[in-house]
Point group: C2
Chain length 328, copies 2
Amino acid sequence: MKVALIGLGSVGRGVLEMIAKKDLGLTVTGIADSKSGCMDASGIDIVQVLAEKRKNGICGDRTISAQDIIKNADYDALIEVTPTNALSGEPAIGYIRAAIARKKHVVTSNKGPVALAYKELSTMAAKKGVMLRYEATVGGAIPIMHTLEHGLCGNQILAVYGVLNGTCNYILTRMAAEGLTYEQALMEAREMGYAEADPTYDVKGIDAAIKLVILANTIWGNGVKLGDVDLTGIDLLTPDALRLAEDEGCTIRLIAEAIPEKHLLRVSPKIIDKNHPLVVEGTLNALTLETDMAKEITLIGKGAGSVETASAIIGDLLYIRDRYGKCA
Amino acid sequence: MKVALIGLGSVGRGVLEMIAKKDLGLTVTGIADSKSGCMDASGIDIVQVLAEKRKNGICGDRTISAQDIIKNADYDALIEVTPTNALSGEPAIGYIRAAIARKKHVVTSNKGPVALAYKELSTMAAKKGVMLRYEATVGGAIPIMHTLEHGLCGNQILAVYGVLNGTCNYILTRMAAEGLTYEQALMEAREMGYAEADPTYDVKGIDAAIKLVILANTIWGNGVKLGDVDLTGIDLLTPDALRLAEDEGCTIRLIAEAIPEKHLLRVSPKIIDKNHPLVVEGTLNALTLETDMAKEITLIGKGAGSVETASAIIGDLLYIRDRYGKCA
């Protein structure tokens, strides 16, 4: 299967490294970052492109844009891994639209398009007979979408509860373990590279809320939006609140929860029993799916990371290949 | 899709109840228990058969056997849910062989055939162009096989670690929480219906070892057998051992682990950090898959139960239908 990749940040580089390293049967025929691009229908030398990117910060010809690759390269599936723009979803929405218009499958790790334009893009993909897959948008390496699609097929999903932001979970873990203040734990998270210079999206719960919107739309197709999420961050939490929870054998986690029957769509710090499977440590993510037959299924794993996210993207690509290959 | 079902214990009844209750597009054309059977190519009245089973202990005509159903009924997939015979795998191996010979898909919850005759049966299924699926054999409702097959596709699985026996986990949880002796906790587990009158298979680790063998053969195709598993049960554990572990912030769990690189295939009580995702409470099951890209992914859920196991079986059936339907 031929693939083109747009976006050469940590995730894009991780995907290319894994394709170069593993014998997955994937040929890369187009690559673009924000400044340059390259294409070769017979297969690009990935190792050379990654070296060029490291050395000169570009991946090819400065006159070739992402849109050029999407519109002209010879590929079966587009890997869209540009940074998330949570306000407009652009330019990624345009990229994905252009690829689907050419009847190309799309695999993305970009939360913007899926949170903001899920209905339009998934309807368009269905019409064109291609797949739009986005396992990497929620829970990093954890195969949540595959579990919903296959593992729990036949089940009615009644509710979801998740720890979907590793930065917040790290801060809460450190506050509980060491009695740190929020500010101290945030500083530590920054030093460890787990928090951005501006941590607003993470600590205010916005990142978790975007993921919750993606989950809800995937499961229930209910067209919810970021503005529908009842949102409370962790930035006002005190060490005292955590200590009180710990005294009761509990702890506090930033939980994203959706229960359609109760019209509940919320991200907020919640007191949970320490023995609950959702109580994970550090930057881990966790998601509990409450279903009618399987009851509660919890999935735990790394919510971020270059190679970890590549795992989700490659799983999507191989699924497309397997699915369409077997039927062809 | 037409299905025939062999075995009307708790799992078989759960599957039929869910097929009757949900609109899954599955028509049941044959049913057999150990004493009787019924078939109808246009669809059996499931509710009536379940009522008959409850009232008279049979499901139809005493002159119709399971083999009659398998050989003569009109079905696409056989649901084989007879009790596990861990020594011979029979009569289930014979049932599955007969169905595959007729080019019928097979879905089973029966550990015997998969642990003892995996290579023969899976090779035969591949030759005949049908699927042999057994999600329900390991971890009950937890979609482990689907996760290996799809969610983590492209990953190399380096090791597996699991809590695969709910009875042992319940006993260990109660010993740790209440300081009970092994005998006291076992008695409680019996009263709760979590342990058999003869708990040997569970507490000696045999049940967990059979599941480990199924996992290892599925993942690595390495042909390991029950006799290859280094086995220690929980029946000699003392409350003192648990107390010592607890003093260090740890606890003890019966862990099934396979690490091919270290030639390790073992079921034994292990001391684990209480914060480790594998440390689940009560009768829950949990499995950690260690992979090259996604790193550690842990799955937690109910390891047993009528409807919970039905969830896994129905997931397998719908996967077969979806897969073959889409390609047809």
